[in-house]
Subunit: 601 residues, 2 copies
C-alpha cells in the first residue's frame, strides 16, 4: 500500500462543502473556472505529489544539499520538479492571465500546495517560494523588472527568494545594514551580508532572484528607511547573457530537519560589483515585503499542518497494523492481542492529531477564501476580508506550527520505540516540523503582532468583525441539536476572550506597553484555540447536515469522524483557555520584573 | 568559557538545604559518611563530567555505534569511561560494603549521576545501566551468581542490561515468548528474540550481562509465568575463560537522538546453546524486574531533567550574549540593541525551563530521599517511604520527560534560527530528549500505573500519605507572608485533585474500567503539575528563610531566582490544571466510543 500523507476527501470537503469554492466563479475574474478545472488541479497535485515529491522524502533528508567550492549542489530531482512545476504553470497559477498566470483561486492552489508540502516539505519549498517572490515583483516592480524576471521564475528556470535576515539584526529588521548605493546606470550597488536565506543558491535552477532588503544612504533610520531590490545571483548582461553579479554564497547551515532545502549565507559586493534593481519606491521595502511575508506566514501554517497530516496518517496506519495488549477490561492473557488503535489512549493521541491537522487546515483554507474574495470585492466588503485576513494571519502561522509540533510528537508516541527510529517517517516529521515556530517570524513575534497590532488596529475593527463571524457560526450551530452545547461553549469562550482582551487593552491604555505585551504569546495561544474551535464548529455544522441526507457508509464514517473530532476539540482542547485566561488576567508583571541576575545559578 | 550544563549550586541547595542529606548519617548504615565525603563525590562528578563526558557530547552523536560483522563498535571513550567509573567505585557506590559498594546515599549518587547525564546523556547510560543491573543480581541472585558477575560489573569491565522487550509484545509484557528450558546442568537453554535493548553489545567492555525475562515451559500464562535469567553474551567456561554463549546481535537501531548508545536486537539460541541462569525463584521475574524498572523510571526522569538542564544553560548563555531589538516601550531605532534576555517573552521561556528543570530535580531528589530512608527505617515509617516512592515514580518518570521535551523546545526557540542548526547544542538536546517519554514505559503506561494501580493501592493509603506531605508544606508556607497565596493556591489544587480522583474512582467502583482509565494520561499530567507545584513551594520556603539571613549578593540572587521561579510556576503552570480538571470530570467516554472507521479519511 502506498503511504498516505493527505486525505483527498478532506481537501474536497473543505473546498466544496465548507467553502463552496465554486461560488467564486460568479465573479468575472474567476469566471473561466469550474469544478472540473478544480478537480483537474487536485488530481494533478495528487499525481505530482506521488510521483515527483514523496519518493524523495527520505532521500532529500539523508542527502542534504552540499556546499562545494562556493556553490550549492542539490539532488537532480530539484531541477526536474522545478521544470515540471514551471511547464505545468503551477508556479504562477495564482497570477493573472496577463502576467502568464491562470487566475486560479488561492483556495484551490492551497489544496494543491498542501499536497506538495505533505508529500515532501523540503521539496515543496523550491517552486512555491519562487511563486511568492515572482508575485511580489509583479505586484510592485516596474514593467521592465517584471518582463525580465517573472517569466523565467514562472517557468521554474530561476529560483526566487526573500532575503531579509542579517547577522546583527535577526528578527529586528530595523537594524538591517546592507546598503544600496545609487548609480547613474539605473541600478544600485549592494553591499552586505544575509543569513538564513532559503534556496538562495542551488544547481537545480539556472539563476536565483533574491528579493533583498537594503538601505539607500541617507534613508531614514529604522524600518522606514528600508528599500527592496531585485538582486539576482547572475545578472542579465547587455547581450542578454547571464553574468556574475558579485553575490557569493559563503556557507549553508546544517539543520535539525528541513534538510532537503539549502539555507544559505550570502555576501554581496565583496568586489564592489553587486547590482540590485529597486522594486517600487525607495523606503517602502518593508511594506512590500509584508505582502510576501504575510503569504509566507500562511504558507508556514499550511506546511506545518501538512507535515502534521503526513505524520498523522503514518501513525494511524501503524496503530491499525500493530497488535499489542488487550482491551483494558479484559484480563485474559490468552485472548489474542488487539491492534493498538483499540486502546482509548491511542485513540486520544490520534484524535488530537486529527483535531490539530483538520482544524488548522480549515482555518488556513478560510484565510485563502478571504484572499480570493478580497481580490474580487470592493469597498467595505473587500476591507472586511482584508481585515479578517490580517487578524488571522498570526494565528494561521502559529497555531499549526506550535500545535503541529505537539501533534507530530503524539504521532511519534503512537509508534513507541519505532517512532524514535528512522525506519519510520515520524522522526523526520518531528525534525522537519520544528522549523515552523521559528521561521517567517517566531511565535513570540506573532504574539506581539496579534495583540500589539492586529487586535487594536482601526479601533479593534478587525477583532469586531471576527467576533461577528463566530457569532454567526454559533447561531447556526445552536439550531442543530447535538451541536448546541458546543455553540454554548464557544460563546463562553468568546466571553473569556473579550474579557482578557479588555483587561489587556486597559493596561495598554495606561501606557504600560511592556506589561500589555508581556504575555502576548499566551494571548496568541488562547486566541488560536478559540479560532480552531470555531473552525471545528463550522465543520461540524456541515457534517451534521450531510449526515441528515443519509449518505453511504464510507461517507457516514467520514462525517461522523468530523463530529467526533469536533467533540474532542471542545472536550480536550477548548478547556485549555481556562488556565490561560487565569494567567492573562493576572498581569503581575513577573516576566517584566525578573532580572537577569536571578538566572545566575 | 566552558559550557555550563548543570548548576552545582543548585545541587548543593537540594542536598543540603532542602533534603538535609547530612541527617542520614545518623543511621548506622550511613554513619561513615559526612558532608566532606559528599562534597568529594560532587567534585569528582563535576570533574568527570567535564573531562570524560562532555567533551564527547557532540562526537558521540555524530559518530554513533556501528554494527560491523555482527558486532557493535563504539568510540574508545566508552572503554575509558567504564574503567574510570569502575576504578573509582562509582558503578557500585550505592551498594553495601559487603558487596563491594560504598553505601553511598541515593540522594548523593543522584547528584553525581545528574551531572553525568547533563554532560552527555548517551555516555552516562553505560555505567549506570550496569550499576542497576548489578544491583538487581545482588538483590535477588544466588551467592554464586553474585560472585560470578557483580564484581566484574562494578569494575566496569562488563556491561549490564535489562532485556525485556520482544517484537510481538512491546509494552505488553504478558506476551513475552522467549523460552528457558531447564537442563540438569544448573542452567536453562534460552531461545527467542529481544529488541530495543540498550547497550547489549559493544566493544567498550569485555562482556555483557543481560538480565533477561523468559518463560519456563509449563509456566502460568501471562505475567505470572515470567522468570528472570542472567544471560551473558560470553559465559564463563569451566576453566574460567569466557566462551561464546550463542547470543547474537542481529542489528542496531538508527535513532532520532540518544545516538551515542547502541540499542540492539538480540537473538538467543540459534544454535540451541544459549545458556541462562535463573535469578531467584521461577515465575517471579517480573516482580524482580520491577525493582530495576522502578529505579530505571526515576533515572529516566533524572536524565530528562538533566538534558533539560543542559539545554537551559545553553539557551541562557545565548540570550545573555545575543543583542537584538530594544525594550518594547522604546521606539528609538538609534538606541543600541539589548541582549534578548531583556525581552519579557524570552524571560518567560527561560523561567519555564528553570521551573521545569529545578522543579523536576527537586521531586527526583525527594524520591531519592525516600529510597534512602526506606533503607534504614522500619515498620510504618519504612512503609510510608516505600508507598510515597511507589506513588511518585510514574510522576518522577513522566513529568520531566514530557515537560522536559517542551522545556528543551523552549530553549531551542530562544536561539531562533540558530536553535535549529547543529552549530549549537539545542537541536541535539531536542533529539536526545525525545526518547524519554517512550522508554521504560511510555507516558500512557505511566498514567495507567498511577491511576489504575498506585492511587488506589491499599485503599488509597499512598495517596493519603502524599496529601499529608502537601498539607504539611502548605502549613509551613502559610506562615511566610509572600508564600501564603501560593499555599492557598496549592490547597485549592489539592481540592481539585481530590475531586477529580473521587470522580474517577467512583467510575471504577461502577465497574467501568475502560472509562475509568480512558484519560489516565491527563490525570497523570494534572497530578504531576501539582506535585511540582508542591516541590516549588518546598524550595521557596527554604529560599525565603535563607533570604532572611541577609546573604551576600550572589546568594541573594540565587534565592530570589528561586522565589521568582516559584511564582512563575504558580502563575503560569498550576492554572493548567483547570482545563485538565474540566476534562477529567466530564468522562463522556469519547475515546472509548470512537471507532476505527471514523478515522478512515
Amino acid at each position: 500500500m502506498a503511504d498516505k500523507y493527505v486525505s483527498m476527501r478532506n481537501l474536497r470537503f473543505l473546498l466544496y462543502e465548507i467553502l463552496d469554492v465554486e461560488s467564486i466563479t460568479q465573479y468575472p475574474y474567476y469566471a473561466d473556472h469550474s469544478k472540473e478545472i478544480f478537480e483537474m488541479v487536485l488530481d494533478t497535485g495528487e499525481k505530482m505529489g506521488r510521483d515527483l515529491l514523496h519518493p524523495y522524502f527520505v532521500e532529500m533528508d539523508r542527502n542534504p544539499p552540499e556546499y562545494v567550492d562556493g556553490k550549492v549542489k542539490v539532488l537532480p530531482m530539484v531541477r526536474t520538479l522545478m521544470r515540471e512545476c514551471g511547464e505545468g504553470g503551477w508556479i504562477g497559477a495564482f497570477s493573472s492571465y496577463e502576467r502568464g498566470g491562470q487566475q486560479m483561486p488561492m483556495q484551490v492552489m492551497n489544496a494543491f500546495r498542501f499536497i506538495f508540502c505533505a508529500a515532501n516539505y523540503s521539496g515543496s519549498v523550491y517552486p512555491f517560494l519562487t511563486g511568492g517572490a515572482a508575485h511580489l515583483i509583479e505586484s510592485f516592480g516596474s514593467e521592465e523588472l517584471i518582463e525580465a524576471y517573472v517569466p523565467k521564475m514562472f517557468a521554474g528556470e530561476w529560483q526566487g527568494t526573500m532575503a531579509l535576515t542579517e547577522p546583527q539584526a535577526g528578527s529586528s529588521l530595523t537594524d538591517l545594514t546592507t546598503t544600496a548605493e545609487p548609480t547613474d546606470e539605473g541600478y544600485y550597488k549592494i553591499k552586505g551580508q544575509k543569513i538564513f536565506i532559503s534556496a538562495a543558491d542551488h544547481d537545480g535552477v539556472d539563476n536565483v532572484v533574491n528579493l533583498l532588503l537594503a538601505r539607500i544612504p541617507g534613508a531614514p533610520v529604522g524600518v522606514k528607511g528600508i528599500s527592496m531590490f531585485v538582486v539576482p545571483q547572475k545578472r542579465i548582461g547587455a547581450d542578454g547573457a547571464l553574468e556574475d553579479n558579485d553575490l557569493l554564497t559563503t556557507g549553508i547551515y546544517h539543520k535539525l530537519g528541513y534538510r532537503g532545502s539549502p539555507i544559505t549565507q550570502l555576501s554581496m559586493g565583496e568586489s564592489d560589483d553587486c547590482r540590485g534593481w529597486l522594486v517600487g519606491e525607495p523606503h517602502k521595502g518593508l511594506r512590500y515585503m509584508f505582502q510576501l511575508m504575510n503569504e509566507a506566514r500562511i504558507d508556514v501554517g499550511m506546511s506545518a499542518a501538512a507535515i502534521a497530516s503526513a505524520a498523522y496518517y503514518a501513525s494511524l496506519q501503524y496503530t491499525q497494523e500493530r497488535p499489542q495488549g488487550r482491551p483494558i477490561a479484559s484480563k485474559d492473557p490468552t485472548a489474542p492481542q488487539v491492534p493498538i488503535i483499540e486502546h482509548a489512549d491511542v485513540k486520544r493521541m490520534l484524535l488530537f492529531q486529527k483535531a490539530v491537522v483538520e482544524g488548522s487546515m480549515s482555518l488556513i483554507f478560510q484565510c485563502a477564501k478571504y484572499v480570493d474574495l478580497a481580490h474580487v470585492l470592493d469597498g467595505e466588503e473587500k476591507e472586511r476580508c482584508e481585515l479578517l485576513l490580517d487578524l488571522l494571519t498570526p494565528i494561521a502561522k502559529s497555531y499549526p506550527s506550535e500545535m503541529g509540533s505537539l501533534s507530530v510528537s503524539a504521532g511519534l508516541q503512537c509508534l513507541g520505540g519505532y517512532g524514535y527510529c528512522d525506519e519510520f517517517p515520524l522522526e523526520q516529521h518531528y525534525r522537519d516540523m520544528r522549523i515552523h515556530p521559528i521561521h517567517e517570524g517566531t511565535t513570540g513575534i506573532q504574539g506581539m503582532d496579534l495583540l500589539g497590532r492586529k487586535v487594536v488596529m482601526k479601533d479593534g475593527k478587525a477583532f469586531m468583525l471576527y467576533l461577528q463571524e463566530l457569532e454567526q457560526t454559533i447561531e447556526e450551530a445552536r439550531a442543530i441539536d447535538p451541536l448546541a452545547r458546543h455553540a454554548d461553549a464557544l460563546e463562553g469562550a468568546i466571553g473569556t476572550l473579550k474579557e482578557v482582551t479588555a483587561h489587556l487593552t486597559g493596561i495598554a491604555a495606561e501606557g504600560k506597553i511592556d506589561l500589555f505585551l508581556a504575555d502576548a504569546t499566551l494571548y496568541l495561544e488562547l486566541f488560536g484555540i478559540i479560532a480552531i474551535a470555531w473552525q471545528w464548529l463550522v465543520q461540524a455544522i456541515t457534517a451534521s447536515k450531510a449526515l441528515d441526507q443519509d449518505p453511504i457508509e464510507s461517507e457516514r464514517d467520514f462525517y461522523t469522524g468530523k463530529l467526533y473530532t469536533c467533540r474532542f476539540f471542545f472536550a480536550y482542547e477548548l478547556p485549555k483557555i481556562e488556565g490561560l485566561a487565569t494567567r492573562l488576567k493576572d498581569s503581575d508583571g513577573l516576566t517584566v520584573e525578573m532580572k537577569e541576575t536571578f538566572f545566575s545559578d
